[in-house]
Amino acid sequence: MMKWTLFTPELYYVAVASVFFVCSLEKKADPRRLYRWAVILAGIGLAVTVACTRMEGFLFFDSYKVDLFSQVFKVFLALGMFFVVMVCSELYGIEPRKHGEFYFLLSICTLAMMMLVSAVELLTIYIALELSSYSLYLLVPMRHRADEYVETGIKYFMVGATASALMIFGMSYLFGITHTTYVADIIQKLPDVLGQPAALVGLLLALAGFFFKQALFPFHIWAPDVYQGAANQVTTYIATASKMAAAAMVIRFVGMSTGQSEVFIQILVVLSILSMTFGNLVAIVQKDIKRLLAYSSIAHAGYMLIGILCMTQRGYSSAVYYALAYLVMNFACFMVIIKVAPDGHNLQIKELAGLHKRSPLLAMTLMLALFGLAGIPPTLGFTGKFLVFAAALEKGYLLLVIIGMINATISLYYYLIVIKAAYLLEPVREYAPVRVDAWTRVMSAVLVIVMVYVGIFPDRFVALAEATVAVLP
């Protein structure tokens, strides 16, 4: 029975989901009360996952592995959920009577992703991924005036279903070739047979499902529409927590090839270059800030892939660090968006005009987060890019790094446009005043301090990232 303690974080989120399921049955739940409960439960959830970081072991006939890698990613996921719940105080993008369901689906989705990062067996992985996807399929169209955004939901579902189909198809190839669904066994058998096209195709197709979650080119088509169409809080969740789980799984699957196949690496290199370049170039012309961040997320998936495709310990650890940095910076951006657009509408870049006067603290948070995303020191985004590029150069990918850096320069252009709006432009009309409560102040201050502190003193976090990937086979 002791084994079940390994499953504590997941069980906790099952319980949270049940609580909100009951709440969603209630006809007139008070949104304020739900919000308070959600914050408390998500906070406890974070504490529970942090407390479980040192656990190790196997569950369910070895298809479920609990180790430092999975537990650290669970902390990231719990952190992501906590972040999102924190900014739900003005959840006006979603009808009040649906708030219970919103929190319910959010908990289920987090639970599913936690299972995903621990799953080491193909079918378990598939089921966990589908569970998280279905919760998101429901969360995305759950918005005020849903008929306007119904296209978004359908698009997301169609693309997602296609990616899942590709993925299960690829998994069937992997199973056919290696006669096993256990990742640990596949790793032993796959390198020998990776010369066969079927194995390579199988692995790439299996990756498709996670590339879809990560919004890597060419699986990115959903991202801009979903970012724009979903309620701001849901977008925040997709942009932060959901990306974490995908990054973890890409690391796990790419690791299966153990760097044996040149062709496989070259395909990943091409995908990463296309993803960075496409994302950055299209982001330049965006007017809606959520769309802009969607395209920038496509580019960031490319940067992260650079670290992963090195297939070295340092490469994986740099990707883990990058993922964490991305979580924090992206959340900071979305927090500002949500606070500047409290009624939940889609924020245009020009609406940020004069933010430095309307709320200096939010303006500064936004500026630091965007500089971090652009990779300007001394922010943790810079350290992330630095580690990724360092890992790539250790493998001798000089050209790839130069392309990556040129992309970082391009990206600075559109981040600067947003910063310019916040700091230089005068508002053309009176915008609703930005209400910044004490809670938001604290969060902004914490985010700013974290972004700069970790940027300047990365030592311990680099060490943590390295310890995290050391347990990977």
Partner: protein
């Protein structure tokens, strides 16, 4: 040169300079918005402190002993081999002094600023912290970090407080310079990875040494990357546009100090780690530098905007620095470093002088001015003195610098050397033409009522002129220091 992980020989004066600027930034951020005067006083106080400490470094630096002095070295990130490693040698001591002088005079020059005062000075201090950091760091990681820190405040500084197509100028400048760092970072990481991925310490890397092929690849990346900031032709186009758009003191810091970061980076990182690469690419460097000198002078001839004139003269003068570095001789590099110092002071003086004229007349177009020496003789005198210095009149510090560079250039690259000297003649022509049109000739009655510059506002210019003449009369005082680093460096080539 074996060092323990932590080594503090004495009072960490370099850290004190660096962190006093960051402290100034923090203090300024916490001053209430409605006390702009206090902001200025605090800024001036910290600038004076920095100046005093840099003067101490300059005086206490022992040129007989040479080598690295005031060393501070702490392990920062273990797994990558990053060190917080500050030190002063003959090359960066003049640069630190230059930065402190330009900051101090820059703060004085902006004394009459009224728009968003607090943010202006906070950003200036951030910029200067980056500049100090690059000059003092001996660790590639930190050199890059500080380099980037010094670049991005330029965007708001120009876009908010600038003039003449400021947003265009700011964006162009930022993107150009970051494109430069897009080459520097891979270059640095490439060297680090080839050396085994264990240390970013400049001198440890130097000791480990690199293959000829690696050096050639890395050097050209570092040269182009840093060269963009140094205004190397044909990557100079951001610089006149940026100078024109920037407010006075930002132009001073920018042309006076920031462009030197580029040349300094080439020398400190590129040439130190890739001497073979330098040998391979020196021809190209000398060629681009010569084109820069001649091109800058000719384009300067055609300008009607005072700031554009100075902008192009900077391109020309930075070409002299590049030419000096490319000679790979003691005299050439001595001259190049000295030229970095004296051009920094001179350009600061130029922009400071133009700043006053622009503040009062609201124009910097040469045809609209004219005869200014009659209405404001003192303000005009500063500009004319700077122009003399730019031409290389004896008794001014750049005379010595240019002399050293040109002598060794003519020896090493006869044709290009002579072409470069002829470029200097053209630049003399355009400087004198500008002086003649702006300050002599018929008075423009529109400017008759303008008062001459009062003593307090003139003080920054007096300091700068004093430094130019002082080192013009006693060049040994700075050349000895520079030489203490350059001689061992050239011998090791």
């Amino acid at each position: 040169m074996l060092m323990t992980a932590m080594e503090f020989a004495q009072f960490p004066v370099l850290s004190a300079i660096l962190f006093s600027t960051l402290l100034a930034l923090l203090v300024i951020l916490f001053i209430p918005d409605d006390r702009p005067h206090l902001v200025k006083q605090v800024s001036l106080g910290f600038a004076a402190l920095g100046l005093a400490l840099s003067l101490y470094v300059y005086v206490a630096f022992d040129p007989q002993k040479g080598g690295l002095q005031f060393v501070e070295r702490v392990l920062w990130v273990k797994s990558l081999g990053i060190y917080y490693f500050l030190a002063a040698d003959g090359i960066n001591v003049p640069m630190i002094l230059l930065t402190a002088v330009v900051l101090f005079t820059g703060v004085l020059t902006m004394w009459e600023l009224e728009k968003r005062v607090k943010e202006y000075f906070a950003l200036t201090y951030l910029l200067v912290a980056g500049v100090y950091g690059v000059f003092m760091s001996m660790d590639l990681f930190f050199i890059f970090v500080w380099y980037d820190v010094s670049l991005f405040p330029m965007y708001p500084l120009i876009a908010i407080w600038g003039s003449t197509r400021k947003e265009y100028g700011a964006m162009k400048l930022t993107l150009y310079l970051l494109a430069g760092s897009a080459l520097i970072l891979p270059g640095i990481l490439y060297l680090w990875a080839v050396a085994g991925g264990t240390t970013f310490d400049l001198f440890e890397l130097q000791r480990l040494g690199f293959d000829v092929q690696v050096q050639r690849i890395a050097f050209v990346m570092l040269y182009l990357g840093f060269g963009i900031l140094a205004g190397v032709w044909p990557f100079h186009t951001w610089s006149p546009v940026g100078h024109v758009a920037a407010p006075t003191a930002v132009s001073m810091i920018h042309a006076g100090v920031l462009m030197k970061l580029g040349a300094y980076g080439i020398l400190r990182v590129g040439m130190t780690l890739c001497p073979e690469g330098l040998v391979y690419w020196a021809d190209l460097m000398a060629l681009l530098a010569t084109i820069g000198i001649v091109y800058g002078a000719f384009v300067g001839l055609a300008q009607t905007d005072l700031k554009y004139v100075i902008g192009y003269s900077s391109v020309s003068h930075m070409g002299i620095v590049g030419l000096g570095l490319a000679t790979m001789t003691v005299d050439g590099i001595n001259g190049a470093v000295f030229q970095m110092f004296s051009h920094g002071i001179m350009t600061a003086l130029f922009f400071s002088a133009v700043g006053y004229i622009y503040d009062k007349t609201h124009t910097k177009m040469i045809p609209e001015l004219g005869g200014l020496s009659k209405t404001m003789p003192k303000a005009s005198a500063f500009f004319i003195l700077a122009a003399f210095c730019g031409i290389g009149v004896p008794c001014m510090s750049s005379f010595w610098a240019e002399l050293l560079v040109f002598i060794s250039a003519v020896k090493t690259y006869p044709v290009r050397g002579i072409l470069a000297v002829s470029g200097l003649v053209v630049s003399a022509l355009f400087m004198l033409r500008v002086v003649q049109k702006t300050f002599y000739g018929d008075k423009n009655p529109k400017w008759e009522h303008i008062p001459d510059v009062p003593l307090f506002l003139a003080s920054p210019r007096i300091i700068l002129v004093g430094i130019l003449i002082f080192f013009g009369l006693f060049p040994r005082l700075i050349l000895d220091i520079i030489q203490s680093a350059v001689v061992p460096f050239v011998n090791s080539l």
